[in-house]
Symmetry: C2
Subunit: 413 residues, 2 copies
Amino acid sequence: MQHGFFNVVSTQWLLEQFTALGRVAGVESCSLTNAHGRVLAQDIVAKENLPPFTRSSMDGYAVNAQDTFGASESNPGYLECVQEIAIDRLPDFTLHPGQCAALVTGAGLPDGADSVIMVEHTQEMGTGTIEIRRSVAPGENTMLEGEDQAVGSTALHEGRRLRPQDVGLLAALGVTDCEVIPRPKTALLSTGDEIVDVAATPRPGQIRDVNTSTLGALIQRAGGEVTSTARVPDDLEAISTALQSGLDVADLVLISGGSSIGARDHTLTALTRLPQCTILAHGVAMSPGKPTIVATVGETMVMGLPGQVTSAQMVMEVLGLPLLKQLGGEDPDLAPFKATVPAVLTRNIASRQGREDYVRARLATGQSGRIEATPVLGKSGLLKTMLQANGYLRIPAHAEGMQKGQTVTVHLF
Amino acid sequence: MQHGFFNVVSTQWLLEQFTALGRVAGVESCSLTNAHGRVLAQDIVAKENLPPFTRSSMDGYAVNAQDTFGASESNPGYLECVQEIAIDRLPDFTLHPGQCAALVTGAGLPDGADSVIMVEHTQEMGTGTIEIRRSVAPGENTMLEGEDQAVGSTALHEGRRLRPQDVGLLAALGVTDCEVIPRPKTALLSTGDEIVDVAATPRPGQIRDVNTSTLGALIQRAGGEVTSTARVPDDLEAISTALQSGLDVADLVLISGGSSIGARDHTLTALTRLPQCTILAHGVAMSPGKPTIVATVGETMVMGLPGQVTSAQMVMEVLGLPLLKQLGGEDPDLAPFKATVPAVLTRNIASRQGREDYVRARLATGQSGRIEATPVLGKSGLLKTMLQANGYLRIPAHAEGMQKGQTVTVHLF
């Protein structure tokens, strides 16, 4: 068995390489109902003003602001209410000086009106006369035509992952279908002679396949699609065949296990036999996750992940999800703010210099009301650190560790 | 038009009431592949130990720790390697004093071995003799049988929303199907004479329905299911009929618009005509969102949301999503840590005492490297505050505002 890695890189360097990879090929059409969470493959340009007409944002009276100037509780003004404006059609009359028109929230303003006085600041005098108890400024309590979105302006940009409010904007603009970037197709290979199907009863020495389930869920969370899954023994030919099957159908092939350098680690050999293969990294200066492989085979990405369950999940969190988002076409400048929580460390953590340590942490609100992070340490082959943790913290390569009482940034799972 | 609310409550009070509502009725079976994001309706008890046998967590040699005591670089020990242990079956021999056995990560230990020495700390001497260059402690570099999960212990509790790592634990335990709580069925009613379908070309005075799209996406995000949608005019009988249709099929009926007190606000009347109706709140001391109605009709929940698009979304964020999670059976003690970001306010915000203000905010990393929150102010009828914001901050009812430079907690959308 040989140990050591020929191309150990930092996570930062690797993340920077991803931006050059571009996104998956093609576009697909998506209905508004299914658009939430998808990534736009086109700019959405407003074909009309939004709102399409100047609307009231309050229940009250449409007025010309000048007619209210000087009005107050002690010195009210009086206007003649000439009409009650219907909510669902634009008024077809013009408001003259001294007049007002009743309207509800959302109704359009007549010509001659530039503002709305809230009903709370008025009193009906019973003769079509309305007492005005304060003044309003021009534009007050109105939503101006085009204020939300002007006709011809770009409402949403290509690369935007659509949030609920973005879907609402599409609805407002009458966009019933839009072009989105296809979900990255992912093939999952779980390698290891000892790995059996979840439904199987393992005989002594065997264990059930965990990585297909956890990685599959993480892929869904990052907007990818699990296109194929396979369990593969520790055999070069079997891995080569499964790798080729994955390359044939997927934009990203994830291989868990077999990425280290040892008697049963065939992933690298299977990759380097392929003429179109370029190895971006074999070995990443992170713990857990050192034996990670990242490669391209033509237009397809391949990641070799550690077989250990916790290591595989951590590499997916740190490197796999950003890669999937890049392939999925999400513009990082338009991406949601990353959810992190600052917390006070409850104990010291030691760390070796020269590699980044990713330490799982459990969060709780301490007696002082501050959020406390307790490191959850344990072996990478056990599930429990991931189960007990809410997220992870990163110890930089140059640091020797972190101190109890220090404030750390916890990245939520 | 009558103004004022008869039962204005705080958001905190209302959130506390939700816990008494229980969850939706019934359970359903879910396959492992679809389990991510679902809420367990049962405790999952481990039917076997995990790991099922004591495994090596490193490549190296299984040893009895005692045989390594005192070994060092300068004073190595020597052991006889009696066997190479297969990865996929348990060793059937016993290790005797002075012996070791080669094994890879994940392989089982033979009887007589209690620890593993890493291959990096050994040297093959070519005659079946292994030089040992450090000592190991009992248990070192092993994952003990049952260390992850002991047979008979509860692996995952009812009320847990399953994360990727939880799905992995189910896989490890051989749970191919589990009982989950049904997704809360939600009926969406969008009221207003002026509201037209997204696909329609509005005539002057009409606008397209936004709330069905945004609320639908938010419901999906909270694990609910949109069971029916309807656009309903401002007409008491039409609203009553649509409400009854919603009550017939849903666990939660959301009605946007018509929840204030005014000529076109029929939601409350439609509700109170139902004999089984209990109004929990009409009016919540929050802005935007004051005219919110929360009611029960028998076993079904009803929320009347403001019609204004931003107000409707904010009430969903603050009250609707917690309600959906409660109905969906998620145990708050087992819920993921809520994603908030502390940020420095870039300008003052005024606020009226006596109500909670929910202010949308845009986050950016400032020149100092600190995260800055800029309030995004605007009318509730416009979409743009929601589009520009990454989240919101809450100004408590007793506060008169917040100061520039103050650190605030931003709740991410």
